[in-house]
């Protein structure tokens, strides 16, 4: 299986899409920090100078990737994964504390974020594991192994605490789904990730009410019989009413939250009796999922309040926009929407943005870079960026599907999962469709390790694709 690299085998379409994103991204970082004291685009004291160095470094790394034997990615998948885990543990213990989290190493003045590389390593390891001949994804044993492979780095990152990046790992569900994970299980994992986020965002009582409402909807869909729905609702309603009256009349010391839980427990007892009497076994699932979710909510809430130090809780609350200081009125998000909204259809023009310059949202060049695109390039610009991303993602699917090698295909889906998750969640959070969880926009956001990691991740796949004709592991 000797191979020779043929230039025509390299997928230039992907590379061009990548370069479009990189160039446009850098121009926006430049626009954010550009001011009248501009000296040189290599000015290292400015974000754009710094980023430019990282971009050039990444280009060198790309060339190195093509020099490396393509089989090494398969063979070193597990060692790389193991090394990433070690780095993650090390950064939790010895990392530099920035914004109340230990996510960074500072080596020779360069900031390095192991969690960015952990995504790449996890994609490699998943691909290696799933491409094994005897692996059946639907067996419990493989499922547990896969969930561990994704879960362990995510947990360590959650301890830093960088819960936004930890959530990115739920994006691998897309890969697992493509490789045959049952659809309901994929949905369940995404549901838990969402529940996790909303437990942090809301108070537990609100989450529990929402869960009960969901359970009712699930129950209604499952039964489709009016009498079941009315009976179920009536039992719950009756208990709720009685309990409310009792708390008022006997002036019991119960809060809303306890009333709901007691109602739920009492109704469940009645439901169980009815399920037993009328042989309605299929509804047990609804109850099981409901109680499982409530237990999960409590666990997350408990972990948040008992395992995190107050300043770490504060960091997550600030990230989610639950706590703000007076300078940052209600706020990053609103700022971001105003900036994007003020761009209008055509935008204000390159370097003409005022919102993104005047407000100094701290993450202006990192997590909120999309604001600058929105303000200076308008709807035309934002749509174009989304179009290029969609083009890249669909191209990745096309490339993945043409691989003979299972390893290359699965890895391709890993790359796709991570980029898609970052792309969709980052833009959704800057325009108020998703809670602000502080993850960067691939190839755009300022930040050397993230940029390098995304580039390496993508080009390992392009490298694997370039030998698709000969590579069959």
């Amino acid at each position: 299986m000797t191979e020779k690299l043929h230039i025509e085998d390299i997928d230039w379409i992907t590379i061009i899409l990548y370069l479009v994103l990189v160039v446009f991204g850098w121009l926006n970082i430049f626009a954010v920090s550009y001011n009248e004291r501009f000296r040189s685009i290599f000015d290292l004291s400015m974000n754009y100078g710094d980023q430019l160095i990282w971009i050039l470094t990444s280009f060198v790394m790309i060339i190195l990737l093509f020099a490396v034997d393509h089989r090494s990615f398969y063979f070193f998948a597990y060692p790389v994964y193991g090394f990433a885990i070690v780095l993650l543990l090390a950064v939790v213990l010895f990392g530099t504390e920035v914004n109340n989290a230990r996510s960074w190493f500072r080596i020779f003045g360069v900031n390095f974020q192991p969690s960015e590389f952990a995504k790449l390593a996890t994609a490699l390891a998943l691909a290696r594991f799933l491409s094994g001949w005897d692996v059946k994804i639907r067996s419990w044993k493989s499922m547990v192994t896969l969930l561990m492979m994704v879960g362990v780095p995510a947990m360590i990152i959650a301890v830093q605490p960088d819960w936004g990046t930890a959530l990115v790992f739920s994006g691998f569900v897309l890969l697992l789904y493509r490789e045959g994970m049952p659809g309901w299980m994929a949905a369940m994992i995404l549901f838990l990730a969402g529940l996790f986020l909303f437990t942090l965002l809301l108070v537990p009582a609100e989450v529990i009410i929402a869960l009960i409402a969901f359970a009712f909807i699930g129950f209604a869909i499952l039964s489709r019989k009016a009498k079941h729905i009315v009976a179920g609702g009536a039992i719950f309603g009756a208990f709720l009413l009685v309990l409310r009256l009792m708390t008022d009349l006997l002036s019991l010391d119960l809060n809303q939250y306890q009333v709901i839980l007691i109602t739920l427990v009492l109704s469940t007892i009645v439901y169980l009796i009815m399920i037993y009497l009328y042989k309605l076994k299929r509804f047990l699932l609804v109850l099981a999922i409901l109680f499982g979710s409530i237990a999960f909510t409590f666990t997350v809430d408990y972990m948040f309040h008992n395992f995190l130090k107050p300043h770490q809780q504060m960091r997550i609350n600030i990230l989610l926009g639950k706590e703000t200081d007076i300078q940052d009125v209600g706020y990053n998000l609103n700022q971001s929407k105003i900036a994007i909204g003020s761009g209008g259809f055509m935008g204000k023009g390159f370097l003409k943005g005022t919102q993104t310059k005047l407000n100094f949202v701290p993450e202006q060049s990192t997590d909120f870079i999309f604001c600058t695109i929105g303000e200076e390039w308008g709807f035309v610009g934002t749509t174009l960026v989304i179009a290029v991303f969609v083009g890249l993602l669909i191209r990745l699917i096309f490339l993945a599907e043409r691989q003979k090698s299972n390893f290359a295909r699965i890895y391709g889906y890993g790359v796709l999962s991570v980029i898609f998750f970052h792309f969709s969640i980052n833009i959704a959070m800057t325009i108020g469709l998703f809670p602000v969880i502080g993850i960067p926009l691939p190839f755009f956001s300022y930040g050397g390790s993230a940029f390098l990691a995304f580039t390496l991740m993508l080009f390992i796949f392009i490298r694997l694709d370039s030998v698709r004709k000969v590579y069959v592991i």
């Binding site: 789904y177 200081d325 007076i326 005047l358 709807f379 749509t383 989304i386 969709s424």
Partner: protein, 608 residues
């Protein structure tokens, strides 16, 4: 090839649906919804911080002591700067072009949105400038308030207001660069109540920096909440009178209302005028005061640790009575001192033998050496250490050895030696009552602050309890003070024993021959007092006096320290008696003007 290959279509669909959702939302935000679009092309918004007026401070008779006066800071918003007529601005501000240029250079730091260019410009300049502000885009005026004082008194008690430093900004996100904060005294301790709550206005501004109106109909605006007014416990009249009496001395006066623990007067001399630490000249004046060898910034009332001297004798009497090692009728003889096994403590000439009340009246050193020896050698305890610890527990119950936890930021603890201190010094079990006999006369390893001694006077006046001394009696709007100031602290000594000690302190002032504090006698007020001399290894001893009055239903308890005044009766006692008279009668009786004149004419500062 594999049976899940069709799932790629679902994944493509997910990508397309999500992206379409994002594009639709963006279309709404950027094209349809105009609420995010600002009217003019290059409009931007500006956050104007609204500074609340700081709470006012009144005295106990509701006389206004501290209020606010507006001043104006000229600010620069670096990114809004545009070309302007610099000569005109210089003329208005009366500065030269170079100063303007360097000022602008200095604030061109994009990290901060706005920076002060010239602080506290005069109201006249402001009036001229206000008219022409529109000509200078990027400049604007921020109005602030400074403290102003009706009487130049109580500098240490009121404290002062300074600017926040970077350390504080990092630790408390309420404050931003340039904010003011109470640093010491009431201003410092009650900062949270006094400061109020900053508000903000978010304004739309056009290219020229002109305000176009509220941003999004003022959705993000928030009114400033004015700071809470405080009613402090001091009597301004009395405070001023005390400061006048202390003008030529170093030392301290603390007066407390025994029934509440309210501090009537808190003086540390020499003091300074509170208005010195306000405004543009604050830093300059502060440095000057800091360099003054008389240490006017040092708050002696809370921070000077003196040995209490004979004023501590009542405490020994109370402990001795409570422990049953002496009684009211215990007599000891004094042959001009106390002599035992090589230890000698001298005493002055007075009648002998004496009982307890006479012992206090005459301040007999020998008497209290015997009392102290009985306490430490009490056979009820197994050893000296145990007996000493019991004595120490009593002393600590009076509020010595620890700060009283009053409402000050910088109150010191004083010192009551723990046993290991002596163990370390003499060796374990190698010390006894005689080794530490100087404690009997309030000397040796014992230090107290004037505040603690005034509190002792208040405790004796109350016959067995005190309230933690405090300087604020009401916070407007909350109408209460912290709980600890209204909880009675009871001393584990019977009321009857306090009556005996009070009797002795009565005779010390009002008795006949041998009374040590006759100088404090006031014909129509029964003052109970105790003189003392605080040893001072650096020079002449300090004159100390504690007292309360009237004897029945006391309304004032006081401690006076005059550094280098030597005998309690020579400076501290007359000053205390004048203070008591002033407070209880409103003025000093013409018959006692001579005493006032004498105290005012003496000077212990120039002798230094």
């Amino acid at each position: 090839m594999d049976r899940f290959a069709t799932r790629k279509n679902i994944i493509v669909l997910i990508i397309l649906v999500v992206s379409a959702g994002l594009v639709m939302r963006l279309f709404y935000l950027q094209v349809i919804d105009t609420s995010y679009k600002l009217s003019a092309e290059n409009n931007s918004k500006r956050i104007e911080i609204l500074y609340p007026a700081r709470g006012l401070i009144y005295d106990r008779n509701h006389e206004l002591l501290v209020y606010n006066q507006p001043v104006y800071d000229l600010m620069i918003a670096p990114f809004e700067l545009q070309a302007f007529d610099s000569t005109e601005l210089c003329e208005i501000l009366k500065i030269d072009l170079e100063r303007l240029r360097s000022g602008i250079q200095r604030v061109r730091n994009p990290r901060y949105r706005r920076e002060p260019f010239i602080k506290q410009i005069s109201p006249e300049t402001y009036a001229v400038l206000q008219e022409k502000m529109y000509k200078f885009p990027g400049f604007y005026v921020r109005s602030r308030t400074l403290r102003k004082y009706n009487r130049e008194i109580a500098a240490h008690l009121l404290g002062y207001v300074g600017e926040v430093d970077e350390k504080l900004i990092a630790s408390d996100n309420y404050y931003v660069m340039g904010d003011y904060i109470g640093v010491s005294g009431i201003e410092g301790y009650y900062e949270a109540a006094l400061r109020g709550e900053k508000g903000q206005e978010v304004l739309l501004v056009d290219v020229h920096g002109r305000v176009q109106g509220p941003f999004q109909d003022g959705r993000f605006d928030r009114d400033a909440v004015v700071g809470r007014d405080l009613e402090c416990t001091i009597d301004a009249e009395l405070q001023e009178y005390g400061e006048k009496l202390m003008k030529t001395y170093k030392g301290s006066i603390v007066a407390i209302e025994p029934s509440t623990g309210e501090i009537l007067t808190l003086i540390s001399a020499p003091t300074y005028e509170p208005s010195l630490l306000v405004g543009r000249t604050r830093t300059e004046n502060y440095i000057k005061l800091e360099k003054d060898t008389l240490e006017p910034l040092f708050n002696r009332a809370l921070m000077a640790n003196y040995p209490p001297g004979s004023t501590f004798k009542p405490v020994h009497a109370l402990i001795g009575l409570q422990e049953g090692v002496i009684s009211r009728n215990s007599t000891f003889s004094c042959t001009q001192g106390f002599y035992a096994r090589g230890v000698s403590v001298g005493c002055h000439v007075h009648k002998s033998p004496l009982n307890l009340i006479e012992g206090i009246q005459n301040s007999c050193n020998a008497y209290f050496c015997n009392v102290f020896r009985n306490i430490i050698d009490n056979p009820d305890y197994n050893n000296v250490t145990e007996a000493y610890n019991s004595w120490r527990d009593y002393v600590m119950a009076f509020g010595f050895g620890n700060s009283l936890n009053a409402d000050f930021i910088n109150e010191l603890n004083g010192f009551i030696a723990p046993t290991f201190y002596y163990d370390h010094y003499y060796g374990e079990n190698r010390w006894n009552a005689l080794t530490i006999i100087s404690l009997a006369i309030g000397q040796g390893e014992i230090l107290t602050t004037p505040l603690q001694m005034a509190n002792l006077a208040a405790t004796i006046a109350n016959k067995g309890y005190y309230y933690i001394p405090h300087t604020v009696r009401n916070i407007a709007g909350i109408d209460t003070i912290e709980n600890r100031f209204t909880e009675r602290r009871v001393i584990p000594v019977d009321t009857a024993n306090f009556s005996i000690v009070a009797e002795g302190m009565d005779l010390a002032v009002n008795g006949g021959t041998g009374s040590t504090a006759r100088i404090a006698y006031i014909s129509d007020i029964k003052v109970c007092g105790k003189t003392g001399t605080a040893q001072n290894p650096q020079g002449r001893d300090h004159s100390v006096f504690i007292a309360f009055a009237p004897k029945e239903e006391p309304r004032i308890a006081i401690a006076v320290y005059v550094e280098h005044g030597e005998w309690g009766a020579s400076y501290a006692a007359p000053i205390a008696s004048l203070m008591i008279e002033k407070y209880l009668k409103g003025s000093v009786d013409p018959g006692r003007k001579w005493l006032e004149a004498t105290m005012l004419s003496r000077n212990l500062l120039s002798e230094q």
